[in-house]
Symmetry: C2
Subunit: 219 residues, 2 copies
């Protein structure tokens, strides 16, 4: 097992070196980079579709899409007019900074304001791998249940924002907003919690305000 542990540490260290390279690049170019993570089907791509459409005239934005297979999500995102590059991990459970560095070669970063990295749908493994982001943003769909922060603590511990998505489904599911928020805050007192619906558009202005503030801090 100790050989295995050494390998894992080497992989994480190599990842962090490339992540630092990405961070330096984003700082120099004043690009806000966000790492979007969640379980499969929590609504990351729908969030991006609406955000890219609503803020189109305000910011120049691009997306790096991570999936095991298919370029479905990159196509959905590109339909808004934004630049989109698909990474296929071929079964890999998370993105790493080497993949993002590669994908970035296909993006015109001149004048880019915000780069979204949509990670593989997985509430566990992506939390371990920095991809050069300024902030980690985790979506939790209310259909997944209010116990998820407590049961998947590391993801919420390291995220700046928890977007409680699909609040339009609240009348039809058992989800205690105070309970989910309480658990998330216990793991991370600074986490910002925003109940939204990327599908209906409810409360998206809270998210857009956060984006504007964080982008302004990069200037």
């Amino acid at each position: 097992m100790s050989q295995e542990v050494t390998i894992v540490r080497n992989v994480l260290e190599a990842n962090d070196r490339l992540a630092q390279e990405l961070k330096n690049n984003f700082r120099a170019k004043k690009i806000l980079c966000l790492n979007l993570m969640s379980s499969p089907g929590a609504g990351k791509t729908t969030l991006l579709e609406r955000t890219l459409t609503d803020l189109k005239t305000e910011f120049k934005m691009a997306v790096i899409e991570g999936d095991l297979q298919t370029d479905n999500d990159a196509q959905r995102v590109a339909a808004t007019g934004a630049q989109a590059v698909q990474i296929n991990t071929e079964g890999g459970c998370h993105l790493d900074s080497g993949m993002v560095l590669d994908a970035l070669k296909s993006i015109d970063t001149e004048g880019l304001d915000i780069l979204f990295v949509e990670n593989v749908g997985n509430l566990v493994c992506p939390a371990e791998f920095d991809v050069g982001e300024d902030y980690k943003v985790t979506l939790l769909s209310v259909a997944e249940g209010d116990d998820k922060p407590e049961k998947y603590p590391f993801m919420f511990h390291i995220s700046a924002v928890m977007l409680l998505n699909k609040v339009d489904l609240m009348p039809y599911v058992d989800f205690d907003l105070d309970k989910a928020t309480g658990h998330a805050k216990k793991l991370n007192a600074d986490i910002e919690v925003m109940p939204i619906s990327a599908r209906s558009g409810e409360n998206m202005e809270d998210w857009y305000k956060w984006l504007r503030d964080k982008r302004a801090e990069k200037l």
Copy 2:
């Protein structure tokens, strides 16, 4: 990288050896073992709560619960009267056969008919690790979207059953049942697809019939 690949192969081989030991044990004792997998919040524990309650007089059943943290799910399941053992992976993204072998020591397998292994909520990594099961059963909540079999193909490729859970939410989400089923069948022509609601109880008889058939085959 080749050192890393070798390590991964060694880990999988060691896992398969212990899985075979479990399979031999389950065959000798005529226990049907099922590996339940899904994204976080797709309803594995709710499925178990209802199944353990409804089939209580028919079968002797036990559950091994896998989670990163907390014993919440083992407690929920134990409340039905079934034996339940919690494994905490402390951040690990899947169960392996060594963990199941350990947990099994705390279960009285005398006269046991069905053992459910509820895996860590993750639609990627658990697919790689056999835990001695007769069948892999994957839940997909309709709230996750109909594109999931296509985007997470390996999980559906290796599963005997896809339980399309939370069909009570169908009127409130965009989910094309034919599309999801079509993608799953393309990956695995033999997969059995059962739309159910573990919460409302809808169509649970299809699942119970499958359980009875598969249990009978072990005798």
